[in-house]
């Protein structure tokens, strides 16, 4: 199916999309700032996949290859947004240019996905990549442009915030 899609078979590519959209969307919705942006990011990931299919050599599984490409597309979009923000704010580490975390109404019981959505973007990115998707800190540093130490600090910050949000 991947080989057929790489030769331009859109029907085969639609089957690939159907098989993988749930996994890609889950990643996008956890990293994006709102669900409608996750829709656009998911579409961008699959268009990019179509463009890059001929470079897939089978060195890893197709799922792994697609997943890494999805992470790259989503984080590139995030970096662009942060750069636009940085033009009008003092210079600093990209990961520190975060809007405040979404506030949670007192007494509302959250599930883990809702609590993740409430994390500040930098902590959320590191938490999703490390604890949900299984990336190492060095890989996260390479993907996001932050230092390894910053990635570790953001992970523990995220875990503490999640515990505070959920364990009450």
């Amino acid at each position: 199916m991947v080989a057929a899609a790489a030769l331009g078979d859109e029907g085969a590519f639609e089957q690939i999309y159907r098989a993988h959209v749930g996994r890609v969307y889950a990643l996008a919705v956890r990293l994006a700032d709102n669900p409608s942006h996750a829709d656009q990011l998911t579409q961008d990931v699959f268009v990019r996949t179509w463009e890059r299919l001929s470079t897939f050599r089978g060195d890893s599984s197709f799922t792994t290859w697609l997943h890494r490409l999805a992470v790259n597309v989503i984080l590139t979009d995030r970096r662009s947004a942060w750069r636009r923000t940085r033009r009008i704010t003092p210079a600093g580490d990209l990961i520190d240019l975060e809007p405040e975390a979404k506030t949670v109404p007192p007494g509302l019981r959250l599930d883990l996905d809702q609590a993740i959505a409430g994390l500040p973007p930098g902590a959320r990115t590191v938490f999703v990549l490390h604890d949900v998707e299984g990336y190492e800190h060095a890989e996260i540093a390479g993907l996001t442009g932050i230092a390894v130490g910053t990635s570790k600090a953001q992970l523990f910050r995220a875990r503490r915030l999640l515990r505070e949000a959920l364990d009450r």
Partner: protein, 200 residues
């Protein structure tokens, strides 16, 4: 052991896979460090929650409708590896050279009138579409421009050879057709190249 070193071990500590020597050092540190104990509790708490997280989430609407129109053939051609384009370029040079040599060696047929005006129209069309590409090229990635312009040079060379052959045999209809085909290839290539910035 420092706080940073302890945090590096916490995932393996809380899953019970940390080797005993390191485990003892972490235990000693945790006994005297409230911050690291809090991090351990957070790590344990979150690890207990992660199993409930869905690996897949279905979008609320079918996103394929917004993907399919963007899967243009132009986009797919751009993804052809550079080595394949280079190999295709070499083959094109070899093929066009062989055809030119074969045509030059043929006996001269009678003169055909009116081809000059046909060629002028193609030349004008190629000039106009080259202008479109020039306007689009700045928005393309440098490596994309390099590949496009190498291939354009191959097409130009084939066109030049065809025109040179036609000067040798001005009325040869086969060479006229070759010149027209070369112009058409150049125009189609430039049109595709000019559209790449809209597809990226």
């Amino acid at each position: 052991m420092t706080c940073d070193a302890v945090r590096d071990h916490l995932d393996r500590y809380q899953t019970g896979v940390l080797d005993p020597a390191d485990r003892d050092l972490v235990d000693i540190h945790l006994a005297g460090c409230a911050d690291c104990r809090a991090d351990l509790e957070s790590t344990r708490f979150v690890a207990g929650q992660l199993g409930s997280l869905r690996r897949e989430i279905a979008p609320s609407v079918d996103l394929w409708a917004g993907i399919a129109p963007r899967l243009t053939p132009q986009v797919r051609r751009l993804s052809v590896p550079i080595w394949r384009l280079a190999a295709a370029a070499v083959l094109l040079i070899a093929a066009s050279s062989a055809v030119t040599v074969a045509l030059i060696r043929r006996p001269r047929p009678e003169v055909t009138a009116g081809f000059a005006s046909t060629e002028a129209r193609y030349e004008q069309a190629a000039f106009e579409v080259a202008g479109l590409y020039q306007r689009a090229r700045d928005s393309l990635a440098p490596e994309t421009r390099l590949v496009l312009e190498r291939n354009l040079a191959v097409i130009e060379r084939a066109l030049g050879e065809a025109r040179a052959a036609l000067r040798t045999e001005p009325a040869n209809r086969a060479i006229e057709a070759m010149v027209v085909a070369a112009y058409q290839r150049k125009i189609a290539f430039l049109e595709r190249a000019a559209s790449l910035d809209r597809d990226s």
